[in-house]
């Protein structure tokens, strides 16, 4: 050692490992327009597909005449359900155990449903050709109100499963019924409610919306008739699952199916499922022996592929007079649209809705969910949340506010009184989950202090008095939410997708010169995996992050994984990285022992190499160890330095957080202005604080959108309203409030590096926080609950009903 020998701190900093605010390496290409998305890929002889879509929400198809379209020069094929029937591909299986039409078979069940697929030399010809396909419909009575779905005289929607009274999740009660799912102890809950001194009961509608990634869904299929190989480029959050499904449906051996997810421009759950466009591009390519590309436009994206939410949640709480919550009952009517295409683990028809007891020690609870069909697009995806967790958190966080209002108690105090206490973890909830870790009181108290909660309440009291004196037309709302997420699906004992366990994987190879490649079963859609995964490897293996290549999305090279959604990448694949790294480190220790001529137990790991215990100057770095692994025989060891890990998590992880929103509402216009928003997140170990902050900003912006106006609406005839960015609310920088972020750290005890996942927390916690702010603003006028979305006209309407415009 001499003066030039780097210090421990310098060596650590050089790694840019966990905890470092490392800049996102993928942004170099994204910010220069050099990303490589599906629509950037051009193959020789490529054709383009486009859909003829249904005009009606519910109609019988009397006739499809494709002759004029086929006669248009440049049109190569027009596929209808009749063409797919011989292949048994007119329906495809959904992740929820139902089937969904690929091309409408005899009936259409929602507006814009796929009726025929036109394939042409370019997308302009295809667009002209779809206008030439003649479809004759006989209109049928549409069903848009889920509360009428199970009426005795409701129109029958799914003729294809008419007689099938046993669904994927048990018996069906009615021809429009999908499943009934119950968790918890109903009798015990009923007993509590029979005797509880205070009870609340309200129905909260979490409206239908859409994940709306900037890049729509798209695919490019290329079948080689000579070799029998099928290559599919697509917007897939879970490429391996797509490969398995394609192989199962097509009969092509999985080894000859190559699925590649290149750069993805946002997913948010929209790109988990399989859509008719993918299937049709594959079928057309197999039939024509040419590459066939399909690209959704914005209206198709918003109106057909994967809505989110649409849960009507009747939520009841029982408590003592002094605010100790005794029990919870929740009944959900779930509007699934025309097919049950929820992207949930197979055994969970309502996802993890049973996290709805939230962050509170509620001893007794019961949850019941009924899913029904309506004439709307199918979906039910987890839009920037783990499966139905946003719905669950919304239900409990609204219910707690309503209870506080009824008790005349401050809602933050009510939460503090009922939180699961630190010493109760691991905590078994009444609805079956084991929360791994948390310190809710610490987080809540820190947040309340940071925002000056008591002072805000005092200011609000003054403003309310001024409003009542007629001195202002503005009311102030304070939104509080405290959420517990359940992410990182999941342990294969209870989570699978079509039978495949929800593990994830990592394969790491250290090259002879000491740089490395990590290949993953997940797939980033913008989360920054290339940056953060490398940081985990850097810390675990002492290799600088900038020398670690992270590769995802190519099923030929990546180990099998279940993909990226439900905040599972860090909890599951992140763990696989650590475990694969540790296998390599164990081998490096043996090599180091040989090179240093000591017993391996006499070595200590030291940032980027091994040193002999008590002799810090006698050390060997990772670079030398890697070189040795390839260049000299080590007794009893294979050459090379690589490892694979398939990680099956023992439990989910449970990130949590405390959010506060201060909002001012103009009662005369209904316009709401967010004055302040503070988000404290606890996601366990923090791998890259800058990426966490970015994720929180993005998630809060989407939460703001959903709570304050973003919706997919239908009229009574089943026409989808406002499926364009003109009407569908995506906030710009102008509308987006300023975000303040903060954190506490409670590492997950069962995760190798203690990380819990964060990408979805801000959405899950944000939506109830905004909604609670709106509701809080008007609560002093007697309002109990106002449904989302809280766009200006609905807030105005609530104020109108409360009589607040009379004095104007």
């Amino acid at each position: 050692m001499n003066d030039l020998t780097p210090t421990k701190e310098q060596r650590e900093a050089r790694l840019e490992g966990m905890g470092c605010k490392r800049k996102r390496v993928e942004d170099i290409r994204f910010t220069q327009g050099k990303g490589n998305y599906v629509d950037d890929i051009k193959l020789p002889g490529m054709l383009f597909g486009d859909f003829v879509r249904s005009t009606y929400a519910h109609a019988r198809i009397k006739r499809i005449d494709t002759s004029k379209a086929k006669a248009l020069p440049g049109v190569r094929a027009v596929l209808t359900a009749d063409d797919l029937k011989p292949l048994n591909l007119h329906y495809m299986p959904t992740l929820a155990g139902d089937v969904a039409a690929v091309l409408a078979d005899e009936k259409v069940l929602f507006q814009n449903q796929e009726v025929a697929f036109v394939v042409a030399d370019d997308r302009y010809i295809a667009a002209d050709a779809i206008e030439l396909v003649e479809v004759e419909y006989e209109e049928l009575e549409p069903l848009t109100n889920p509360f009428k779905a199970m009426d005795a005289d409701a129109p029958l929607l799914r003729e294809d499963i008419k007689g099938k009274m046993e669904g994927a999740h048990g018996p069906r009660k009615h021809y429009n019924h999908i499943f009934n799912w119950q968790v918890g102890d109903r009798e015990a809950a009923d007993d509590i409610f029979a005797s509880a001194p205070v009870k609340t009961k309200d129905t909260y509608w979490y409206h239908r919306t859409h994940p709306s990634p900037l890049e729509t869904c798209q695919s490019l299929a290329s079948y080689d008739k000579v070799t029998g190989h099928l290559t599919i480029y697509g917007t897939f959050q879970a490429p391996h699952v797509v490969r398995t499904v394609v192989s199962m449906l097509s009969g092509i051996p999985e080894s000859k199916v190559h699925v590649i997810a290149p750069d993805i421009g946002g997913g948010f759950g929209n790109k988990v499922g399989v859509y008719p466009g993918y299937v049709c591009s594959i079928v057309a390519s197999i039939v024509l022996g040419k590459p066939v590309k399909w690209v959704e436009d914005r209206m198709e994206n918003l109106s057909t592929t994967s809505f989110a939410r649409d849960y009507h949640m009747t939520t009841e709480l029982a408590s003592t007079q002094d605010g100790k919550i005794l029990g919870m009952r929740c009944y959900v009517l779930a509007d699934h649209g025309a097919f049950d295409a929820c992207a949930d683990p197979t055994k969970w028809p309502a996802g993890f809705m049973n996290i709805c007891t939230g962050s509170y020690g509620i001893p007794v609870a019961h949850l019941e969910v009924d899913g029904v069909y309506t004439n709307k697009a199918s979906g039910g995806v987890a839009y920037r949340c783990s499966f139905r967790v946003t719905e669950a958190v919304y239900a409990i966080e609204r219910a707690v506010e309503v209870l506080a209002q009824k008790l005349g108690m401050d809602s933050a105090d009510l939460r503090l009184k009922n939180f699961i206490r630190r010493e109760q973890f691991p905590y078994k909830s009444a609805l079956g989950w084991e929360y791994d870790s948390g310190d809710y009181h610490l987080a809540m108290n820190k947040a309340m202090e940071a925002v000056g909660y008591r002072q805000l309440r005092a200011e609000q009291a003054e403003k309310r008095a001024a409003f009542q004196r007629g001195e202002t037309r503005e009311v102030m709302g304070i939104g509080v939410s405290f959420f517990t997420e359940i992410v990182g699906a999941g342990p294969s004992k209870n989570c699978d997708i079509l039978g495949v366990g929800m593990f994830d994987s990592c394969e790491i190879r250290i090259h002879p010169t000491g740089s490395a490649i990590a290949r993953m079963g997940t797939k980033s859609q913008g989360q920054g995996h290339e940056t953060t995964y490398a940081q985990i490897v850097a810390t675990e293996l002492g290799i600088p992050a900038d020398q670690i290549q992270v590769e995802e999305g190519n099923t030929d090279t990546a180990p099998y994984g279940l993909g990226t959604y439900g905040s599972r990448s860090t909890p599951v694949a992140g763990a696989a990285i650590a475990m694969a790294s540790r296998k390599i480190r164990a081998k490096m220790q043996m090599i180091a022992a040989h090179l240093l001529e000591v017993h391996h137990n006499d070595l200590d790991w030291d940032i980027d190499g091994y040193q002999v215990k008590g002799l810090p100057e006698k050390r060997i770095g990772v670079k030398e160890i890697a070189w040795a692994a390839y260049h000299q025989p080590i007794p009893n060891l294979e050459p090379g330095l690589e490892a694979v890990n398939y990680y099956d998590p023992p439990n989910m992880t449970y990130p949590f957080g405390a959010y506060f929103c201060v909002m001012d509402i103009d009662v005369d216009t209904g316009a709401a202005k967010v004055r302040r928003f503070y988000a404290l997140d606890d996601c366990g170990t923090r791998i890259n604080p800058m990426i966490i902050e970015g994720q929180v900003h993005g998630g809060l912006t989407e939460a703001f959108a959903v709570a304050m106006g973003q919706e997919i609406r239908y009229d009574a005839a089943g026409n989808v309203m406002g499926a364009s960015f003109m009407d569908f609310f995506v906030p710009t920088a102008v509308e987006t409030p300023h975000w303040e972020t903060d954190f506490t750290v409670t590492p997950s005890p069962h995760h190798p590096i203690g990380a819990k996942g964060v990408g979805e927390s801000p959405h899950v916690g944000g939506v109830p926080c905004f909604s609670n702010a709106v509701n809080d603003a008007l609560s002093f006028c007697g309002s109990v609950h106002i449904d989302m979305p809280h766009d200006a006209w609905r807030i105005w309407e609530a104020a109108e009903k409360l009589g607040l415009h009379k004095a104007a």
Binding site: R123, E131, T669, G670, M726, F729, P731, T732, D791
Partner: protein, 286 residues
């Protein structure tokens, strides 16, 4: 979202454009900034066979003063309206209005002519032109003619333009010194059409409103000239009662549709709120 086939023309003069539009007849549409027409074509709600792009005609651009009148070429963009010092000094309501149209990117393309001549009730400039009593100069097969803005709008996308005619320029008569003005627009987000909006230009004498012109955006088939509301205000010192009566008179002529911006009742009420706020602000400025 792909338009049907069309032929693109780019004339170099007003005469050439007029000759083209006349000869091509109803299958042709003049193209200004394209921010209404092109989306309609992508949705195939408009399927013109010919587009006559007016962007290559220098005479259609620019702002100038002729005596007391301000003359603005139809192809002047909203960004150019915002940047014009002449307009900032003489007709500041145009700058205020342009700044709430769409977003900066669109304002670099979107034109005054397109905004006033398309006949879309969601456009902001028609109401403003009515309050300014602007005149539109139009050219067509029969040469030039001038139509007052208050007589130009006939229904949604229906205007006094005959097939083959297009707007050349907008003439704004001189405004009195020290006039008060305001354009109040309620919208869901940047880039949106108004839920309701109100334009007002007024003058004061000895603390009393001497003249007043008021018009509403996007609460009817066309921009609405709110004559009665303006009459109520003339002679008042803007007391709460006359302001409320004026707002009520504006609401009485509003007939908005229920849409994603809100119910008809809500949008009508917002028209009244916008009128009250615009008048108050204009009164303070006068």
């Amino acid at each position: 979202m792909i338009p049907g086939a069309f032929t693109y023309h780019r004339p170099k003069s007003i005469d050439e454009a007029a000759a083209l539009l006349t000869s091509l007849g109803e299958e042709a549409r003049p193209l200004a900034g394209g921010h209404s027409l092109i989306p309609m074509m992508k949705l195939r709600m408009a399927t013109p066979e010919h587009l006559v792009d007016l962007a290559g005609i220098p005479e259609l651009k620019g702002v100038c003063q002729n005596g007391g009148d301000i003359i603005i070429g139809a192809m002047t963009t909203q960004a150019e309206l915002i940047a014009s010092e002449l307009l900032a000094a003489q007709v500041p309501i145009l700058r205020e209005t342009s700044l709430v149209i769409a977003d900066p990117q669109i304002r670099y393309c979107g034109t005054l002519g397109g905004n006033v001549a398309n006949g879309d009730p969601g456009n902001d400039m028609p109401a403003v032109m009515m309050t300014l009593d602007a005149r539109y100069t139009i050219v067509g097969e029969k040469g030039r003619r001038v139509i007052p803005s208050r007589e130009f709008y006939q229904g949604a996308y229906y205007t006094a333009l005959e097939p083959g005619e297009f707007l050349v320029s907008v003439t704004i008569p001189a405004l009195p010194d020290g006039h008060g003005f305001a354009y109040e627009k309620m919208k869901r987000k940047v880039g949106d059409y108004a839920t309701a909006a109100a334009a007002v230009v007024l003058t004061k004498k000895d603390g009393v409103i001497a003249t007043c012109a008021l018009a509403l955006t996007n609460v009817g088939d066309t921009a609405l000239f709110a004559e009665e509301a303006a009459q109520i205000l003339i002679g008042s010192r803007l007391d709460a009662a006359s302001l409320a009566r004026a707002a009520a008179a504006a609401e009485a002529i509003a007939a908005p549709a229920t849409d994603g911006r809100g119910t008809a009742a809500y949008r009508t009420s917002i028209a009244g709120v916008m009128v009250a706020r615009a008048v108050r602000r204009a009164f303070e400025r006068a």
